[in-house]
Amino acid sequence: MATRLPEAASVTFSHPDPMVPHLYRVLRTRWDTGDTFSLELTPEQSADIPQFEAGQFNMVYIYGVGEIPISISGDPARRDTLIHTTRAVGTVTRVMSKLKVDDLLGVRGPFGSAWPVETGRGKDMIIVAGGIGLAPLRPAMYRILAHREDYGRVVLLYGARTPADVLYRKELEQWRSQFDLDVFVTVDRATGNWRGSVGLVTQLIGRAPFDPMNAMAMVCGPEVMMRFTTMELKKRGISGDHIYVSLERNMKCAIGLCGHCQVGSLFVCKDGPVFRHSRVEPLLTKWEI
């Protein structure tokens, strides 16, 4: 009998009306790199934030400016604060980067599918992140580390543009010092005092220690990076059924109504953003949809 492969974990809504934003207050702000910042938020109308799964996102509404999808980058086990790590690239994210402690913003969610951390139990877990792609994967790291003994090898491969663009430096250093984790960081270019690898994140895959026959990979970063990363993972012997990617498309409703995020027959907001690679591979190589 054929066994059905798990899709990315699907999750149901925890709020009664998913279109209504909830008021959140900024507790802390931190610049992670020159253009990327993290906001720690606390809900105004309740004690806890809604339960979320690693890989899910919220629609963040900056009053008077606009609403954008941002992944949750905090620990799913913590219900007191909500953390979003955002790169300032345009209209909404730039205004968002200027928010101060006690400012208010709207949040609706969490939405979308999650990284398959549960189905990965018993396997080697390979986490490959590029640039801001480490933010949506950080909750998966927290989940895996909370149940470390349930997994085989845990390998984190992270690529950034330069050493100054490396996210969550302190945490990476702490993870790197853990004997039961293999953490490799690479940058595209560096000056003399950088002691890590220089080169593409895809080039780390060949020398990463894992058993491809019993491994699950989770990949997040720019789409080009994900395309070449999955090629390298497959070269190492991991099947496309055991590789998961997170897609990014413009969004409006985030609940599968407006069609803004549609890729072929899939809605990234509702069927994704986390997808099994074999399911979306043909879409990743299309020029325009």
Partner: protein
Amino acid sequence: MKTLESIVAQHPFFNGLAQPYLTLITGCASNVVIKPGELLFREGEEATQFFTIRTGILKLGVLVPGQGEIVFQTIHEGEIVGWSWMFPPYRWHFTGRAATELRVLAFDARCLLQKCEADSGFGYEFMKRFSRIMMERIQATRLQLIDMYQTRG
């Protein structure tokens, strides 16, 4: 004790190479160990060798006025470096500096070129292996040029 030929044979670059070819190549090889921070080769100098990395990390860099040495790639255990010896003007285009203690095998280019000329079967096998590495490096460079972390998608 390990023979030089067995050390050469262990390097992934020479995987599956026929025994007579391994013996030929070993005739051009020598063991080199350098300390962190020392140069393996320098930009602009005559390129007379290529290297296979046994252990350690090598940084490839280029000197940029006002910024110092910009490292654009590190070469690790099991990888190889150097093809400037193949084509005129036979000069290193970059500087190779040890990031850690580095153990490499150095291969004398003139010796190898002579052997490639004398035995075209060997030359073809050797160039195929080099071409694959060159292709991989070119593809990686193209992706670095896209500057993918800065652009959307």
